[in-house]
C-alpha cells in the first residue's frame, strides 16, 4: 500500500518556481529519502503534503486520501519535524508539548515523557530560553509523541550535536521498526544513505531520479586523493576513473566501480597519504547526473 502518492504535483509561488510535475510514491514501511540542494523544492513538497499551501496543478494523497480535503484527518497520523522549529514564546516546554498532545485522539502523555527523557529535554524551561539545538529536541518530541504512522522530517539533524544525531537516528529506526513510514528530506547524502531504503533526487523543482539506495551506493563515485612524491598520475587511468587532477604532489580523481580494484592499485605504490571520500551532493549533481 502506498502511504504517499503524488501525481504531477506542481506549485508556483506567483511566477516563482516551487516544484514541477513531482510524481512519486512512498510505500508503507519505507524510509524514503528526499535529497536535493537548498531551494530545490524539498520544503515546498512537504508543505503541500501538510496542506499549508495548495498545489497549482496535480494532487497529493496520503493514506490514500486527498491532502487538502482530508487534511486534518490525515494529520492525526503524521508527525512533522520542520527544519527550523518555531513555537509560541512564553510557554514552558511541558505546556507546549501537552498543548500539542491535546489535539490527538489518543493519550500521548506516557510517550511524551519517554521521549523527553530520551532526548534529555528539560520540561520546565521556557521555550524562549532554549538554544537552537534544544528547540529542535522539543520539535522531535512534539513530532513523535502521538506515535504517528507517517513521520515527515525536513533536514532534521541541523543544530543537533553528533551524539544527539545518533540518538535521533536510533529513535527513527525504532519508530520504523514499530511500523512507521518515514519521509526524510535532507541535503546531506551521508545520512540519507545510512537510513533510507529508497531515495528521490530533486533538482530545480523536478525529480531527476528515484533509486534504490543499494543501486545508488553501487553506482556511487568515490573521491580519492593520494599524496606521493613524483608519482605519474596516468597510472590511475583505468576503467571507472575520471577527472584526474595533479597539484603540488597530490593526485585526485573520481572513481566508480569495484573498490578492491582501486585499493589494490594504490597499495602497489608507495604513498604518503590517502583520502577516500563520498562525493558531496553538488559533485554528484555535477558529474553523476550530467
Amino acid at each position: 500500500m502506498n502511504i504517499i502518492e503524488t501525481d504531477h504535483l506542481t506549485k508556483y509561488y506567483g511566477k516563482a518556481r516551487g516544484i514541477i510535475d513531482v510524481s512519486l510514491n512512498v510505500e508503507e514501511g519505507e524510509i524514503f529519502g528526499f535529497i536535493g540542494p537548498n531551494g530545490a523544492g524539498k520544503s515546498t513538497t512537504i508543505r503541500l503534503f501538510l496542506s499549508l499551501i495548495y498545489p497549482t496543478k496535480g494532487d497529493a494523497r496520503i493514506f490514500g486520501k486527498d491532502c487538502i480535503k482530508f487534511g486534518p484527518e490525515i494529520r492525526q497520523e503524521i508527525g512533522y519535524l520542520p527544519s527550523e522549529v518555531f513555537y509560541y514564546e512564553g510557554m514552558k516546554v511541558l505546556d507546549l508539548l501537552e498543548y500539542s498532545a491535546s489535539f490527538y485522539k489518543k493519550d500521548c502523555s506516557k510517550r511524551l515523557f519517554e521521549l523527553a527523557d530520551l532526548m534529555e529535554l528539560d520540561l520546565k524551561r521556557r521555550i524562549d530560553d532554549l538554544s537552537y539545538g534544544n528547540k529542535k529536541k522539543v520539535g522531535i518530541v512534539q513530532g513523535l509523541l502521538h506515535q504517528p504512522k507517517l513521520i515527515i522530517l525536513d533536514e532534521p539533524t541541523s543544530g543537533l550535536d553528533p551524539l544527539m544525531q545518533q540518538k535521533f537516528f536510533n529513535l527513527i529506526r525504532e519508530e520504523h521498526d514499530r511500523g512507521a513510514t518515514v519521509f526524510f528530506s535532507s541535503h546531506i547524502l551521508g545520512e540519507v544513505q545510512r537510513l533510507c531504503n529508497r531515495v528521490a533526487i530533486i533538482k530545480e523543482g523536478s525529480i531527476i531520479d528515484i533509486q534504490d539506495i543499494k543501486t545508488l551506493q553501487k553506482n556511487n563515485y568515490k573521491k580519492i586523493q593520494i599524496t606521493a612524491d613524483g608519482m605519474d598520475e596516468t597510472r590511475f587511468n583505468i576503467d571507472g576513473v575520471s577527472n584526474i587532477e595533479k597539484m603540488d604532489g597530490m593526485i585526485s580523481f573520481f572513481y566508480k566501480g569495484d573498490i578492491n580494484t582501486i585499493t589494490r592499485l594504490i597499495s602497489s605504490e608507495k604513498i604518503a597519504d590517502l583520502t577516500v571520500e563520498d562525493l558531496t551532493l553538488e559533485e554528484i549533481f555535477m558529474h553523476y547526473y550530467e
Binding site: 499551501i53 494529520r75 520542520p82 518555531f86 509560541y88 498543548y99
Partner: protein, 264 residues
C-alpha cells in the same frame, strides 16, 4: 477549547495594559470633571468657543456641568480607545502566527483552519467584552462621588451596547485583514488606518447637513450619544448595518484564510 484558552493566556498581558490605560484615562477624566461639576462659569467659557469645535467634540448636546453630560463627552474617547484595541487584537491574533512563523506548528496539528480562526475570534471577543466591562465598571465607580441619577445609569448602559457593536465591527475588520492579507505585517496598521479615516469622516459629517449621507460610511456616526440620551433606544437600521458589516468581514475572513497559502 485548547486553542481558545491558549490565546486568552497569551493575550492576557495586552488586556491588562489596555485595562490599565482605560482606568487611568477615566481617572484623569473624572479628576478634570471635578472642576466643571456644578460650575456655571464653565458654560460661559464654552459659549465663547467656535461652534465647529464644540460640535466635533459633541459638546453642544451635553451639559458639561452634570455627570451625565460629562460622560456624553467621554464617549468619543471610549469609542476610539476600545475600537482601536479591538482592531489591533483582531488582526494580530491571526497575523502573529505567520509573523512568528508558528503556522508550521499550529496548522500542521490535526485542526482545520476554520477551527483555529473560530477559537481565535472567540478569544478576542472575550478580551473586548472584558475591556468594555472594565470601562463600564470604572465609569460607574468614579461617578459615585457625583450622586448619579437613574438617567445616568440608563445612558451608560445603552452607550456601552453601542461601544460593543463598534468593537465588534473593528475586531471583525482586523480579523479579516489578518486572514486575507499576504503582507500580514501590515494588517494591523491598515486596520487602524481605516478606523482613523472613518473617525475623521464622522467629524466631517457633523460639520454640515449636506454631508449627512456620509454617516452610513462611518460606524462612529451610527449611534449619536445625544440621540441615545434623548431616546434611550438604538436605531434598528444601524444595528442592522453593524451586524451586516460584522458578518461580511467574518465570512470573508474564513473564506480568505481557507484558500490561502500559509508559509513563512
Amino acid at each position: 477549547m485548547n486553542i481558545f484558552f491558549r490565546e486568552l493566556r497569551s493575550n492576557l498581558k495586552s488586556l491588562l495594559i489596555w485595562s490599565g490605560i482605560l482606568i487611568l484615562f477615566n481617572f484623569v477624566g473624572f479628576s478634570k470633571f471635578s472642576a466643571f461639576y456644578e460650575n456655571p462659569q464653565l458654560l460661559t467659557v464654552l459659549d465663547s468657543m467656535p461652534p465647529a469645535l464644540i460640535s466635533s467634540l459633541n459638546m453642544n448636546a451635553f451639559n458639561l456641568t452634570t455627570v451625565t453630560g460629562f460622560f456624553g463627552i467621554m464617549i468619543i474617547y471610549f469609542n476610539l480607545i476600545l475600537s482601536i484595541s479591538a482592531a489591533m487584537w483582531g488582526s494580530d491574533i491571526i497575523s502573529k502566527e505567520e509573523r512568528d512563523r508558528t503556522v508550521e506548528f499550529s496548522l500542521t496539528l490535526p485542526v482545520t483552519r476554520g477551527r483555529l480562526v473560530t477559537a481565535k475570534i472567540a478569544a478576542v471577543v472575550v478580551n473586548c467584552i472584558v475591556l468594555l466591562l472594565v470601562t463600564w465598571g470604572s465609569t460607574v465607580i468614579f461617578a459615585q462621588k457625583y450622586q448619579p441619577d437613574s438617567e445616568f445609569y440608563r445612558f451608560v448602559s445603552i452607550t456601552m451596547l453601542t461601544v460593543l457593536l463598534l468593537q465588534m465591527i473593528f475586531m471583525a475588520l482586523g480579523v479579516f485583514l489578518g486572514c486575507a492579507m499576504k503582507k500580514h505585517k501590515q494588517s494591523g496598521s491598515i486596520a487602524v488606518s481605516i478606523l482613523l479615516v472613518s473617525y475623521f469622516i464622522s467629524i466631517i459629517t457633523g460639520l454640515s447637513k449636506d454631508l449627512d449621507f456620509l454617516k452610513y460610511f462611518t460606524p462612529f456616526k451610527y449611534f449619536e450619544p445625544a440621540v441615545l440620551l434623548r431616546e434611550s433606544k438604538l436605531e434598528p437600521t444601524f444595528v442592522g448595518l453593524s451586524l451586516v458589516l460584522i458578518a461580511v468581514s467574518i465570512a470573508g475572513a474564513y473564506l480568505a484564510y481557507s484558500k490561502r497559502d500559509l508559509y513563512s
